[in-house]
């Protein structure tokens, strides 16, 4: 149960981290694109952003994902990092508990 909970929390944290990375890359790409009709890529080619000029003169934005692999990589790295940190913390807690018990004994 404890490990299942840790896994679900790991998935949630990784999802949020991935979203933060995607949004940051998206905003950076959006503001670095200036020419109409030119497709700009962000997050190692994962995201694209392309402004179009419409017939009425208004600007339309085309955004999307061109390659899911870098996003999946960000998600996986976050998950592994979370699991590693959580395991180390757990061991440190256990170690502290043992030291306290030894101190009392």
């Amino acid at each position: 149960m404890k490990w299942l909970l840790r896994f679900i929390t790991g998935l949630t944290v990784s999802f949020v981290v991935t979203m933060i990375v995607v949004v940051t890359s998206f905003i950076t790409t959006m503001f670095s694109a200036s020419e109409m009709g030119v497709r700009k890529f962000g997050l190692f080619g994962a995201l694209f952003f392309e402004p179009h000029e419409q017939a009425d003169g208004a600007t339309a934005l085309e955004i999307g994902v061109s390659n899911g692999a870098p996003i999946a990589l960000v998600f996986s790295i976050s998950l592994v990092f979370y699991v590693a940190v959580a395991s180390v913390l757990e061991r440190l807690k256990l170690h502290k508990k043992r030291l306290l018990q030894a101190d009392e004994g």
Binding site: L5, V16, T18, M19, I20, V23, I27, I63, V65
Partner: protein
């Protein structure tokens, strides 16, 4: 009145807030504290960068920044009123915080002034968050020569508006005391502020369009709120500062004199709905929700907005319904005595369902007439459905916020931090998912899964708090 006592009390309030906020709920762990600070700083930095990039790209070098600054100046009153309303409504619950000082040798006047000082420091923080990004990016783009303009157009009017609002508030409190309904201020004050917002909004819009028209036609536009900017431009910053000091010097003593001498406890609950509901557990959860003054405040805001929208012919989906769904923030802490007073508090899942179920009932009760009104005004019913979906999701999220950041002793700061962090997270997830261009059905599935996750963590949080109370786990 001893200023030293006021300062000491002011420090006590801050000490309480800092210790209580960082020591409870999710923020109890140092890692969570650091993450929260980082997220808030990152949000402000992101907000500033976004503001800088947008202003540079669209206004830099065009000369349009001048009228934009004037429009911002004209809207300062409205924004300060929003910040003031937010803080004032949150502080309505802070009576318990005030009670901390009851056994100290201070007069009621000193207590009120310390609290006013404490409250104004919070309004300053909120205002800095709202106007900070705009001010920083404007100065970065136009250079340091622009600092006097930003000061006179944004910050000086903000200070004067705040002082004026404080004076108005204490006058209102005095008037309520005089007619013997001071205990009802929890309901009356937010209603007055809501009416103020309803009046200020069209006026600010009108002023903004007049400024734009004047700029296009080359006319000069004058309004009382633009006074500091006008003085700064015509005479100089020093004169503008002088006028600010003079008006503040007149208003601060007026506030001190007007602040009530005696303390009247506020009514936090109103007897609505029949007593037989108290015989059932779910009925009691409905009572706690419907009777609390926060619900009454949200309800009065919705009522005033609906009347305003009807007369102004605003044909918009009923977004205002979202206000009623923020009650979840207090749902857990307000109903805490129900779970503490009995030796058998009931199963956690059942208690959680009662918490959100009662909010669902409130949403239906308020939602049916509000949606009916929207449809009568010409909004298609289908356009109301996403709002309803958002409201249902918000009930779940705000309940989780109330569990993760439990507001203790009416401590409003915990609620602000919880709501801010949640807003930042929800916006990031919504924007992030938008990039993926999923089909509506996929988006619905993802949001449903996320809401289930919210339910899961809420129940987990409630169970953990029960176990902490039973000393099964260390907090």
């Amino acid at each position: 009145m001893h200023p030293k006592s006021v300062v000491l009390l002011f420090r006590l309030f801050w000490l309480f807030i800092v210790r209580r906020v960082v020591g409870r709920g999710l923020l109890a762990s140092p890692a969570a504290r650091l993450s929260a600070i980082f997220l808030l700083v990152a949000a402000f930095a992101g907000f500033s960068v976004l503001s800088y990039v947008v202003i540079r790209q669209y206004l830099g070098g065009t000369g349009l920044l001048e009228p934009v600054l004037q429009v911002a100046n004209a809207s300062v009153g409205f924004w300060v009123l929003i910040a003031y309303t937010l803080i004032r409504v949150l502080f309505m619950k802070a009576d318990e915080l005030l009670k901390l000082s009851f056994n100290l040798p201070v007069t009621n006047k000193e207590r009120t002034m310390a609290f006013a000082l404490f409250e104004s420091s919070l309004v300053l923080l909120v205002t800095a968050f709202v106007f900070g990004a705009f001010s920083i990016s404007t100065v970065l783009i136009e250079g340091t020569d622009y600092i006097p303009r930003v000061l006179a157009s944004i910050w000086f009017p903000a200070i004067s508006t705040y002082l004026l609002l404080s004076l108005g508030y204490y006058l209102l409190e005095r008037a309520l005391q005089a007619i013997g309904i001071a205990r009802l201020r929890g309901l009356v004050v937010p209603m007055v502020l809501a009416i103020g917002l309803a009046v200020a909004f069209p006026q600010t819009n009108e002023q903004s369009s007049q400024i734009a028209e004047s700029y296009v036609s080359g006319r000069e536009y004058n309004a009382p709120i633009l006074l500091y900017a006008k003085l700064q431009e015509d005479v100089g910053l020093w004169f503008s500062i002088l006028v600010l000091l003079a008006t503040s010097a007149a208003m601060i003593p007026a506030i001190v004199v007007t602040a009530p001498r005696n303390y009247v406890p506020m009514r936090r609950f109103f007897v609505v709905l029949p007593s037989w509901l108290a015989g059932r557990k779910f009925g009691v959860y409905i009572l706690v929700l419907f009777r609390s003054f926060e619900t009454m405040v949200a309800f009065s805001f919705i009522l005033i907005y609906s009347v305003f929208a009807w007369f102004e012919h605003l044909v918009l989906p009923p977004y205002v319904l979202a206000l009623i769904t923020f009650q979840g923030v207090y749902a857990f802490s307000n109903s805490e005595p129900l779970r503490r007073m009995a030796t058998y508090p009931g199963r956690t899942v059942a208690n959680y369902l009662r918490l959100v179920g009662s909010q669902g009932v409130l949403l239906v009760v308020v939602g049916v007439p509000v949606i009916g009104l929207s449809v009568a005004q010409g909004v298609p019913f289908e356009a109301c459905l996403p709002v309803l979906g958002f409201c249902l999701s918000n009930i779940l999220i705000s309940t989780l916020v109330g569990i993760a950041f439990p507001p203790e002793k009416g401590n409003p700061f915990t609620v602000i931090i919880g709501v801010l962090l949640t807003l930042v997270l929800v916006m990031i997830v919504a924007l992030g998912l938008n990039v993926f261009n999923f089909e509506p059905i996929t988006n619905t599935a993802i949001f449903t899964a996320l809401n289930l996750l919210v339910v899961f963590y809420s129940i987990l949080g409630m169970r953990r708090m029960e176990r902490i109370a039973r000393n099964e786990v260390v907090a």
